[in-house]
Every structure is written in structure tokens, then in C-alpha cells.
């Protein structure tokens, strides 16, 4: 991964920075320029909560090549408190005991690395509370 592409998303990957439509209140992660609901372009910054619940999940057994050493791993869609949804890995969990509705919290992890010599890519994952 070319560094600029990774670097640009740091506020989202490290700090879950989102934005919120000032007119209708809908939140966007990553931040957007136009509200998909009310078409307003007036936004304010918002930091997402670091806990939420699991909406749906799977366990990836055949991963993309840069994820082989982590395989098998769980992926879930998580609704953070406040209502914003993210897709993320669920780390440090018992793969047989995942349940829709379970409480999760954000942890900072290494997500992938660009081969042996490229940059290390960090970001959010969830772990059971």
C-alpha cells in the first residue's frame, strides 16, 4: 500500500473521526461532503464511541494473502453506541462463541502490513467487552 493512501485515513483509522449532518443529524463514517438523506453540506465533526454491539459476523477461513498469518479471523458489522455502523475484525474472541448482540469495544491493532519491507498499517478492531 502506498503510504499516502494509508496516511490520509489516519484520523478515521486511529481515532474514529466521523461527521454529523447539522441539518438532519445523520452521522457518517468516514466523513462525507453531502448528506445522503437531506443533501445538506453543513457538517460538524464527531468522534465515534468506542463500544457497541455485534449485528452480524462471519469467520474468514480463506483470507486475502496479506491476512494469512491472522487466519482464521472473525469479521463483524458492529453498531457503535450512538448508532454508527462499522465493519471490522473481532480479535481475541472465541470463534465458536460469537453471538449477534454481544458487546464489543474498540482496540488499536495492526491491521495489515505491506509485505516484508513496506509500511505497517494500523487501525481499529473490536474485542469482546
Amino acid at each position: 500500500m502506498f503510504p499516502a493512501r494509508y496516511w490520509r485515513e489516519i484520523p478515521q483509522r486511529y481515532r474514529l473521526e466521523a461527521n454529523k449532518c447539522k441539518k438532519c443529524g445523520r452521522t457518517y463514517f468516514p466523513p462525507r461532503l453531502v448528506c445522503a438523506d437531506c443533501k445538506s453540506r453543513d457538517f460538524e465533526p464527531l468522534k465515534l464511541k468506542d463500544e457497541g454491539k455485534l449485528l452480524t459476523y462471519t469467520v474468514i477461513r480463506v483470507p486475502p494473502s496479506q491476512f494469512i498469518e491472522q487466519s482464521p479471523y472473525a469479521i463483524g458489522i458492529v453498531e457503535l453506541d450512538g448508532g454508527t455502523r462499522i465493519l471490522t475484525q473481532i480479535a481475541d474472541c472465541n470463534l465458536d462463541k460469537l453471538q449477534i448482540g454481544m458487546r464489543l469495544k474498540i482496540e488499536f491493532r495492526k491491521i495489515q502490513q505491506d509485505g516484508e519491507a513496506g509500511i505497517l498499517c494500523y487501525g481499529y478492531k473490536c474485542v469482546p467487552v
Binding site: I10, R15, Q89, D92, E107, R109, K110, G115, Y122
Partner: protein, 348 residues
């Protein structure tokens, strides 16, 4: 007076038992356990490294400190396993907690003493008024070569401390350093595993420097072992901190709260700093604490701290170190351990 305003630790959930490692190398597990007082150790997942553990330990420290992260003027990460050979760990940490861009960042390396080194520098900067708050982290995902004695102890963990002048949970009364050039343990550039000088790492290295630093700071403060409620020494295994404590005249009870190595292993730069966090977890206002680190190469930093009343307000705002050590554990086999620690050569 400068003090610690927040502290936090992080321990990965994976553990490997000493027997599981001994089995692979045909070693005699019971005698290792007796000899080193080591039973199991923490193991990082493939998605954990010095940076990720530093961020999590710091998040806990920030919860306890309850300060705006942008007021942190110095971010120092001490480790011998910085994920990059060139590119700081501290910038990722500073960015993740929201301390950028008005902040000074540096990575430290001094074998197992890099964490206390970061603490030492933060204390100086806060005391001088150069920064309002300074963040010091000791973290490592230590590696021992397969089959080497270090493989039984090399573990992963992190401790973070925020230093400042107001609202301290522990005041820093004295600092002291004791250094010589002693090549007992090293890792050359481009080498994956460190090397050590076996029994030479003991008497002329670990014991000489810890005793030198402990005696030096006690002389400076005009204090004796019985004046302290607790003491924390660097913990390369379970046995050394007990032995050096006895040699200096400390009792088992003074050592015990910060003595994590039997089930944690040696977290290198995180070792004595993590012991300090678990000692804070049980200490009361007025308690006096001595911490002495040790880093091969070689040297020791010593600190005399006094716990304040604020400890009772903030202790429960983040997970306690002993709780993380004793709960939520996942035991792994040697094969998984070898995969997680990149001891298996992967195809491309």
C-alpha cells in the same frame, strides 16, 4: 513537585505454558520452573506489537489522568522491539491518542531499561517546566531464539505513565541512575534474535547494577529498605527480583504486588514499569515505593515515589494489571506460538 498523574498497562490475552515450550526442546520443565520461577508467559497476537500495546496502555493512563491529550508535550516510547527500525513508534501513539502536532516525540532503546529511561526524561522535562505533561511508555514484544533459555521468559506487555505537576497520584521524590559498559546481552543490526552471555548476565550485570542503583538512591534519600511499603525490580524471570530484594534487605511482602514475572514472563522495557502499575493498583495514600529497572548493556534507573490521596479516585477507571494477568487468558500451543511470533518462514 512532579508526579505521575495517570498510569495504565496492557497485557495480550495469549499465554503459553513453560511445559509447552520445554516439550518441544526436550527440556526438563520442573527444574526450569524451580530454577527460574517461571510458569507461563504472555504472547502477542500477529496484530499486536509495541505500538498497539502502547496505545492501549496509554488509553488507560489517560482515563485515569483525565487530562486533554493535546496538553501532552512529550511522547516517549521505550522498547527494544520497535516495529520499525527507522520510523518512530511514538508518532503513531501520539496520533492515536490525539496529542499531535504540538508534541515532542522520541523512541528510546536501552534493552529492558528503555521504559524507565522514558520516565526519567519525562520527569526532567516536567520538573523544568518545558512541558505540562509528559507521556512515558515501556513496551515490548520480546523475542527469544527458539530453544534458547530466553524463549521461556520473553513476553509482551506495556505500561504507560503520564507525568505532570498537578493532581499527581504519586509524587516523584528522587531519581537516580547507575551505568557502566557491560556487554551481557545485545542484538546486532539485521539480527532477528538477541544474544546473551549466559551466567555473565547475573552477578556482574543484573545484580551489580540494581544493587548499585538501589543503594545509591536510598543513600541520596537517606532511606532504608524498611522505610518502603513496596519495591519493584526488573524481572527477567521470577527468581532474580526475589534474590536481589533479599540481598538488599527487602521482604517478600514488599516485592509481591509488583512481582508479575512468574505468570507474565519478562516484558523487557515493560517489566518493572508494569510492576509499578500493579503496585499502584493496591497501594494506599502515603505509601512509599522504590522502583529499580535494569537494562543490559548495562544500567539501572531508580525512582522513589510517594502515593497521594488521588489514587483512590482513579484506580478503578481502567483495568488493573493483575486482573489482566489473571483473566481472559487463551492458552496456545507451540505451533500457534511459532506462527504468531514469525518463527515460521512463510511463502510469498
Amino acid at each position: 513537585m512532579t508526579g505521575i498523574v495517570g498510569y495504565g498497562a496492557y497485557i495480550p490475552r495469549n499465554r503459553i505454558k513453560l511445559e509447552e515450550i520445554a516439550k518441544v526442546w526436550g527440556a526438563d520443565a520442573p527444574s526450569y520452573k524451580r530454577g527460574l520461577l517461571l510458569y507461563e508467559k504472555s504472547v502477542p497476537s500477529p496484530d499486536q506489537d509495541t505500538i498497539t500495546m502502547s496505545v492501549e496502555a496509554t488509553k488507560s493512563a489517560l482515563k485515569r489522568a483525565n487530562i486533554p491529550p493535546e496538553e501532552i508535550g512529550a511522547v516517549y516510547v521505550g522498547s527494544e522491539s520497535h516495529p520499525y527500525a527507522v520510523k518512530p513508534s511514538g508518532t503513531v501513539l501520539a496520533e492515536a491518542i490525539g496529542a499531535t502536532p504540538e508534541v515532542h516525540c522520541a523512541d528510546y532503546e536501552f534493552a529492558c531499561k528503555a521504559g524507565s529511561e522514558a520516565m526519567f526524561v519525562c520527569i526532567g522535562l516536567v520538573e523544568s517546566g518545558s512541558v505540562k505533561y509528559g507521556l512515558a511508555v515501556g513496551a515490548d514484544t520480546s523475542q527469544g531464539a527458539p530453544g534458547d533459555a530466553l524463549e521461556y521468559s520473553a513476553a509482551a506487555g506495556a505500561a504507560a505513565f503520564i507525568f505532570g505537576k498537578d493532581n499527581a497520584i504519586a509524587k516523584v521524590h528522587h531519581t537516580y541512575s547507575y551505568m557502566t559498559d557491560t556487554p551481557d546481552f545485545w542484538r546486532r543490526e539485521y539480527q532477528f534474535y538477541p544474544r546473551h552471555a549466559s551466567r555473565f548476565t547475573g552477578e556482574p550485570a543484573y545484580f551489580k547494577h540494581i544493587i548499585g542503583a538501589a543503594k545509591g538512591i536510598m543513600d541520596k534519600a537517606r532511606m532504608k529498605p524498611e522505610d518502603f511499603n513496596y519495591v519493584i525490580f526488573h524481572q527477567p524471570n521470577g527468581k532474580f527480583p526475589q534474590r536481589v530484594g533479599k540481598m538488599l534487605g527487602f521482604k517478600k511482602e514488599q516485592i509481591e504486588p509488583g512481582w508479575l514475572s512468574p505468570t507474565l514472563g519478562n516484558t523487557y522495557s515493560g517489566s518493572s514499569p508494569m510492576g509499578l502499575t500493579s503496585t499502584f493498583d493496591i497501594s494506599k495514600p502515603g505509601d512509599k515505593i522504590l522502583m529499580v529497572s535494569y537494562g543490559s548493556g548495562a544500567g539501572s534507573d531508580a525512582f522513589i515515589l510517594e502515593v497521594t490521596e488521588r489514587i483512590d479516585e482513579i484506580r478503578d477507571k481502567a483495568p488493573k494489571t493483575r486482573w489482566m494477568l489473571d483473566n481472559n487468558k487463551t492458552y496456545i500451543e507451540y505451533g500457534t506460538y511459532a506462527k504468531y511470533r514469525e518463527k515460521i518462514r512463510m511463502g510469498t
